[in-house]
């Protein structure tokens, strides 16, 4: 029996080729592109000047002037999000058109760049999603996906997953990115920009950057019909893959891209023969366009020349994190209207052995569209959109038991689980201390010496988790091992190095740093080093990223997309200068989480990886799991309210809670909620051991909960005298627990955005 059909019922878009879906579609079908020279004098330093810009008045006419003033990213996103919500009619609550409950209405946003707020400083990656959610009152699943130029398409796929798991009745899925000077300089430095309007698939002499936002409102077909709205298209399936090849260049064989398309078609229950039209990535760079032609030939074989494929990037430019969503909107409209948009700027004299729909839109029967995106970091995504079906009986999405079978913490407390356990047992505290990778290279030296610090940490953590799980898989099996990377802010070293180089001379950007500025670069480096080519994605929800990544891993296992998923979380801040030299011990270990004296956490760097495996796979190979994942829950929203909501895991009565406290006054909210709901549990937090390492601290909470379940060890809150809630008896004050825990709960928190809870049980 089929899974519950998930359909698109609303579209929103603002980009250089239109301020709403109607205008966008008119321009696509009449071949009127939106690329133009940038007039901003700052860009005069570059030879290449064409880009796809959104006129300010298009935004201003659709948003009140004061709304998110100074935050162009949020304003673009709000325009498109409201259009989609309006078309879907989900704001018009009433007996016939019941709006989804706020807790079951989510947002999954794709974004490639860290973007500045009104003061010019980088905002947290998830900030734009928080703004849209807050404005539209969405308190359901909230995910920021940052697989660079594949993020928009990836967001649509993840939204489908959230509906299939039953966590949401509606999800706003899309992407946004503004045109940023630094990014422009980076692409110019890579010699990737065309000096005129780009000409994908023919001249292929470079790309143009663009900006914009696009959203699709996804909901189950049955609920859409019950609300009396018209389904526009079914999101029939999606596929992710990793090239495991190079930081910026696509695998020239097209293997990675082809694998994403094949996975998407398999999920949709379709074959290449069912595909009528392919919306290509078509950036216009020689490497991309050549690789895409190979993907077409690999997937469609003899039929490749008869499957029309076009790129709309010569209309709108490359909108990076928005591109996949912009193209998904175009694909839905192509299905609706039975028209394939053209590749404009196509050189009619070019010899092409594929059908690129040159320069003129083509009316044709279209029931199935494949929309592809390929990104830096070797991340590929393919979406399958199909003409909506009539409602069919459906079965719930399958659930499978999953276990955590390997731990790889790399923090100031130790490199590997053995060192970490020893540090916990010894009652050591290492907040703010830099992890040590002395004595071992974790990747081929030819790669290792060019890697930034965050990639080295993440690769070390991944390899150690892999070794801890005692996984020995042949090369072929690695093609299906998935990787989910979780990070708050990616590489501070590369971002800083790149920004500094631009400030000095925009025409001499630090290109190696630029390739590592994208948030998924580290995940890509892990895939490349370990040779993992399964589904891959990168999630950026601050310190809650790791539990959201675990959710994503479980969904991959449930859906049969992977038997083994490596979850890796990493973040960095400059190490604390030690008072007497690098090797001197710290006298001040920072505030004790949940302590009344806590004012501000000690920030640090670290990477924590864990292996998530289907219980069947682990048992079949004789693995020794730490714990079974009994349940997860996330709650989005501001303030203290989501804390209690995140703890509402059915049947949870853990003996231990590894909390998200880091040494803030608001740690008390969490402690009070835990003690109220789980009075029998002892409370601790991994920040006591390693400080606040953002996503890595969230992952450490999960890892240490797993350790407590199997080995009965947990970090003690030594020095806790006056807790913010309850008394000392409710906290872990010595590392040896009474024994292995039957169950333990790990918490994560991106404050005022999303909180997570992961329940682990003994196997």
């Amino acid at each position: 029996m089929a899974l519950r059909p998930v359909v698109v019922t609303g579209l929103g878009i603002i980009c250089a080729a239109g301020r709403n879906p109607e205008e966008f579609w008119t321009r696509l079908t009449t071949a009127r592109g939106g690329l133009a020279p940038i007039e901003d004098e700052a860009f005069a330093v570059f030879t290449a000047r064409h880009a796809g810009q959104v006129p300010d008045e298009w935004i201003d006419a659709q948003l009140p002037a004061g709304e998110q003033a100074g935050d162009r990213t949020a304003r673009l996103a709000l325009v498109a999000a409201r259009q989609a919500v309006e078309q879907a009619g989900v704001e018009q609550a009433g007996p016939a058109r019941a709006a989804p409950a706020p807790d079951r209405f989510g947002i999954i946003l794709g974004k490639c760049q860290a973007t500045p707020g009104p003061a010019g400083r980088y905002q947290p990656m998830h900030h734009t999603a928080d703004v849209v959610a807050e404005r539209l009152g969405l308190r359901g699943p909230r995910i920021l996906v940052s697989t660079a130029c594949a993020a928009g398409g990836n967001a649509v796929g993840l939204a489908r997953d959230k509906i299939l798991t039953g966590e949401a009745d509606a999800v706003l899925a899309g992407g946004v990115d503004p045109l940023l000077f630094g990014t422009y300089a980076g692409f110019a430095g890579l010699q990737a920009l065309s000096t005129g309007p780009c000409r994908p698939y023919s001249r292929s002499d470079g790309l143009n950057l663009g900006e914009g936002a696009a959203f699709l409102l996804l909901e189950p077909l049955d609920l859409a019909l019950a609300r009396g709205v018209t389904p526009l298209a079914e999101v029939a399936g999606y596929g992710l893959s990793a090239d495991a090849y190079h930081a910026t260049a696509p695998d020239p064989t097209g293997r990675g891209g082809a694998s994403a398309v094949r996975r998407a078609l398999a999920e949709a229950g379709l074959t290449p023969g069912d595909v009528h039209y392919v919306s290509g990535h078509g950036t216009g760079t020689p490497a991309n366009d050549a690789m895409e032609a190979k993907v077409m030939r690999l997937v469609f074989g003899e039929r490749a020349a008869r499957v029309p494929t076009s790129s709309i990037k010569s209309f709108v430019g490359h909108t990076l994190g928005a591109a996949g969503a912009v193209e998904a909107v175009a694909s839905v409209l192509a299905l609706r209207h039975g028209v394939a948009p053209p590749t404009i700027g196509f050189d009619d004299g070019a010899q092409a052995d594929l059908d690129y729909v040159p320069n003129q839109a083509r009316a044709m029967p279209i029931d199935t569209v494949v929309s592809n995106n390929y990104a830096f970091g070797g991340n590929n995504v393919s979406l399958v959109l199909a003409r909506p079906r009539d409602p069919v009986p459906y079965e719930p999405a399958p659930r499978r038991q999953a276990v955590i079978s390997g731990l790889g913490p790399v923090t100031g407390a130790g490199t590997g689980i053995a060192e970490t356990a020893a540090a916990i047992a010894a009652g050591r505290r290492a907040a703010g201390q830099a992890p040590s990778l002395e004595g071992r290279t974790f990747a081929p030296r030819s790669l290792w010496r060019h890697m930034n610090r965050l990639s080295r940490l993440a690769i070390a953590a991944s390899r150690l988790a892999w070794e801890d799980a005692e996984l020995k898989l042949p090369r072929k099996a690695l093609d299906d091992v998935a990787l989910v990377f979780a990070t708050g802010a990616g590489s501070a070293e590369s971002t800083g190095g790149f920004d500094d180089s631009i400030a000095l001379n925009p025409n001499k950007p630090a290109v190696l740093s630029f390739s590592n500025v994208v948030l998924n670069a580290t995940g890509g480096a892990v895939c490349q080093t370990l040779g993992l080519r399964g589904p891959t994605t990168t999630l950026c929800n601050g310190a809650a990223s790791a539990s959201i990544a675990l959710d994503c891993a479980l969904e991959m296992i449930d859906a049969g997309k992977a038997e083994v998923v490596l979850v890796v979380a990493a973040d960095e801040t400059p190490a604390r200068p030690a008072p007497g030299g690098a090797s001197a011990p710290f006298e001040d270990d920072g505030p004790v989480p949940y302590g009344a004296e806590a004012v501000e956490p000690v920030t640090g760097s670290g990477a924590v990886a864990f292996v998530v495996e289907s219980a069947d796979h682990c048992a079949a190979r004789g693995g020794r799991p730490y714990a079974r994942v009994a349940g997860t829950r996330h709650a989005a929203g501001e303030g203290a309210e989501p804390v209690a909501r995140s703890l509402a895991l059915p049947g949870a009565a853990p003996g231990l809670v590894v909390g998200a406290a880091t040494g803030l006054p608001r740690d008390g909210e969490e402690a009070a909620a835990v003690l109220a709901r789980m009075p029998g549990a002892l409370l601790t937090a991994s920040a006591a051991l390693i400080g606040d390492c953002q996503a890595a601290t969230g992952a450490m909470n999960i890892a240490l909960a797993a350790l407590a379940v199997r080995d009965g060890l947990a970090p003690a809150l030594t020095g806790l005298t006056a807790p913010l809630a309850g008394d000392r008896g409710s906290y872990v004050t010595r590392p040896e627990l009474a024994g292995p825990m039957a169950s333990a709960l790990a918490l994560t928190a991106a404050h005022d955005s999303v909180r997570g809870a992961v329940l682990l049980e003994a196997v």
């Binding site: 064989t253 050549a290 690999l298 030819s446």
Partner: protein, 354 residues
Amino acid sequence: MASVLASLHPEDTVYGDVGDATVPLRFSSFPQEYQVLRERAAVLDLGGHRLIEITGPAAVDFAQRVLARDVEYLTSDRCMMSLVLDESGQVVDQVVAFGREEGLLLESSCGAGARLLDHLLAHAEEGAEIADRSADLTVIGLEGPYAWGVVGRLIDGELASLPFESVVDTTWNGVDIVFARTGYTGEYGYQMIVPRQAAPGLWAGALEHAQAAGQEALELAMLEVRQPIPRHEATPGASVIEIGANWLVDITKDDFVGRAAVLEAFETGGGLRTVGFTGCEGVPAPGTRVLAGGQDVGEVVYAVQSAGLGATLGLARVDPELAAAGLGLTVGGVDVTTLTSPYIVPKSWSIPII
């Protein structure tokens, strides 16, 4: 060691002894074979390359110790070229190391397999099994600007655009083979490791789409892009720096046989350097003195007549300050000019794989 393919080669094939191997030097006409390699696609009988397998729990540690480059994480879909050195830093051989699920497979250079095997056995460690697989495996190469097209017609077009030094376990005609993107001449290059009994079939199949080229054409094309040929260049006493094979060692590795000697050579910076030259009439013999302004500054390593340049092409080992392009030197009393490598531009550099 004779090639398993010898019975298939034309009767008038000219063979020669290269180290411990007897290999086809040319099948018909050297200039024509060279032209095929540089202009179209050549099939190479690499039966003179010995295959040595290292397996067992200590396989990777052993390989890491005997190979000068870093193979700790050489996965079964990668291969790389590396020097094998003795304790004094002298070149034992230059191998292609293939990562395998159960260890590594080393491919010797032409005719150097026996010496390599002896060296490995002399350094054998418990837990690392060393096995000569040449009795059941052989190597066939493809090289040329359109070699990728041959791959498509012979096996699978998907393999043609594999990244450099990628390895795939695949099948040809139902036979398991190891397929690798490699390259010795600057042209698109591939190697197929194939069971000996299936080799004649694969050779014949390849000949339907390409022409055979012998060792002479291959070695000339290698020299033209400064691909090291150890039997000509690893002269007794020369350090890896003097040979110009620095890129085939990795001194950031903690340890490998010969590391101390290489490190010393790096640190002292002494000795000569190797540079290409052209210009003189005829082919000077190895050891011919090289003069600069009347001063003896070094000697000829070896030289040949280059079809690509239409002139003499050689390598000279000279004082470091003279190992630069565009200088006038004298070889055997005749003026020559030093060159920067590659000495010819391979056609493959301007031909995309479609």
